[in-house]
Subunit: 324 residues, 2 copies
């Protein structure tokens, strides 16, 4: 087997270079038929004689004809491609979601146009004025805007995670959240649920901020330096975890002994860190593929039915232990 060449960049639509591409007109000419007949044969129209089908097919083969997708799209007013706007593809969580969506779309004969939004908030208003189907993933838009969505049930997973910590005996738990968006709200609610359903007073501490490692680090420092520091920390995102971990390592705290730690979303780091880090996990690829399927259904004018909610689950790991 020769050299591989799987990663690279290239224009998607082949443009004429050495050998000029043949058009449908040329195929028709060679076959001695009308272009409309060629079109019919190629689009699988029922009313074509076998003879015609054969002549056209032969000419197509001979010329190595490939339809011009651009012309087709223009004529049909549909492109068989969709756009995916992601905050930052280098975030492993988002990469998994994108992978799930891209695979599902490819299976359906669609292509994905990827854009990194770098979390530009101006996109919100852009989406509001967009006149085509939109599917949001774990996001919500102001009520008026009609957009379908695939959401994660962060609340349930977080309730289980905090419940686990409470059962271990922790009472002061620090929760580090990102932007005040849906996922943060849900996580907060999950934590509150866990305290409430045990009849415990709200002796937790919540730090809002951004889904960035810098925030994770700052918030962790803040929590640990407070008068009555938490015995357990919950990092509300994989980027936050990075910062939190940096700070815990810097202070030479041993997870599961000196302090307990739970994170959200099971990225490679959480599984391989020693000790492994407990997480609230979800099926990221499924999140992407379900979103893709939903969009395809919307494009096919099927009923939008309400937002789809995907489960999360708490995965206990040795980073959690009784308070020291």
């Amino acid at each position: 087997m020769a050299e591989g060449a799987r990663d690279g960049v290239a224009p998607p639509v082949s443009r004429a270079a050495g050998t000029a591409r043949s058009s449908m007109r040329e195929v028709a000419q060679l076959a001695g038929v009308a272009v409309s007949s060629v079109s019919r044969v190629l689009s699988g129209h029922p009313d074509v004689s076998p003879a015609m089908r054969e002549r056209v097919t032969a000419a197509v083969e001979k010329l190595g004809y490939q339809p011009d997708i651009l012309a087709q799209s223009m004529r049909l007013r549909a492109t068989k491609s969709i756009g995916f706007v992601v905050g930052d593809i280098s975030n492993p969580l988002l990469a998994q979601i994108v992978l799930g969506a891209e695979t599902a779309l490819r299976d359906a004969g669609y292509s994905m146009l990827l854009t990194n939004s770098e979390n530009d908030p101006s996109l919100d208003s852009a989406l509001e004025h967009f006149d085509a189907p939109i599917v949001l993933i774990d996001r919500e838009l102001p009520g008026s805007v009609s957009a379908s969505a695939v959401l994660s049930d962060h609340r349930t997973g977080m309730r289980a995670a905090v419940g686990h910590l409470l059962e271990l005996g922790h009472r002061r738990i620090g929760l580090i959240l990102g932007q005040p968006l849906r996922f943060s709200r849900e996580r907060r609610l999950g934590l509150e649920d866990a305290y409430r359903e045990r009849g415990l007073p709200p002796t937790y501490e919540i730090v809002d901020g951004q889904l960035h490692s810098a925030h994770g680090r700052r918030a962790t420092r803040l929590l640990l330096d407070s008068e009555d520091p938490p015995t357990a920390i919950v990092a509300g995102g994989n980027q936050i975890l990075v910062g939190t971990l940096e700070e815990l390592v810097r202070r030479q705290l041993t997870l599961g002994e000196d302090i307990s730690l739970v994170s959200c979303d099971s990225v490679a780091l959480t599984e391989l860190f020693q000790p492994p880090i407990a997480v609230v996990r979800r099926d990221e690829r499924a999140l992407g593929s379900r979103a893709a399927e939903l969009l395809l259904r919307l494009l096919a004018d099927e009923n939008p039915d309400g937002p789809l909610t995907m489960p999360t689950a708490f995965v206990p790991r040795p980073s959690c232990g009784p308070p020291s």
Copy 2:
């Protein structure tokens, strides 16, 4: 600030929904001019009177006209979009490269069509018959095929890494490689260089395989269970590292003491693992952006000049110590 909505899927080309999109003809009609004049104004043609410019602009504003990209592309025979084929976007190394490329392309007004090839080898032959510019990233195609490339100088970084281990006193070093492609060959050569330039006999062990964690794990087991096991292991890729790490952890070996470890490509895991893992690193985002720039130059018919080689560097970290 209201809800956010940055991650999601949607068709990239707005299709008529409630409000029908206006065409250039309608703009022309409203402005009382010819379509060609509208076209000239919009494309910034120099020979247009200020009066004309104003009338057209007003009509455009009034109708909220946006040019039909599809029609434009069809007419100009160019789409302002390129395709990026990646083995698996959920690999953080590749995600960084994609991010670099996408950002550069976006800055140039291009869009990226992303496809996960799942390392399908049939793509190789597809690329060979592709009649448009191609840029390979850290890959080579059989000589005959003319494709530009951006390559990583793995050899130099690996030579430095192995040199470091040799200086620490290691003599039996195990190198775990992926597929027998360019990057593996280069890494092997780098290791050989390090031994040769010190006049040392080739007392290393090289295990070929795939860029997968399963291979990393199997190869690590193989190396450690051999008669004369290595005192240092070099993982030739971030996926391989995962497997290697799993096996080392399972055996409760302490990095930098019981065994030394070097990996390739500085992903989050290598920095946060305790102790941090030494790596041969490179600028992944630059790799992507340079590839994008190269492709854009090729599309502009500029000279292709030979493959561009990007540097790698060894980053020593505590996972390396003297042999036990």
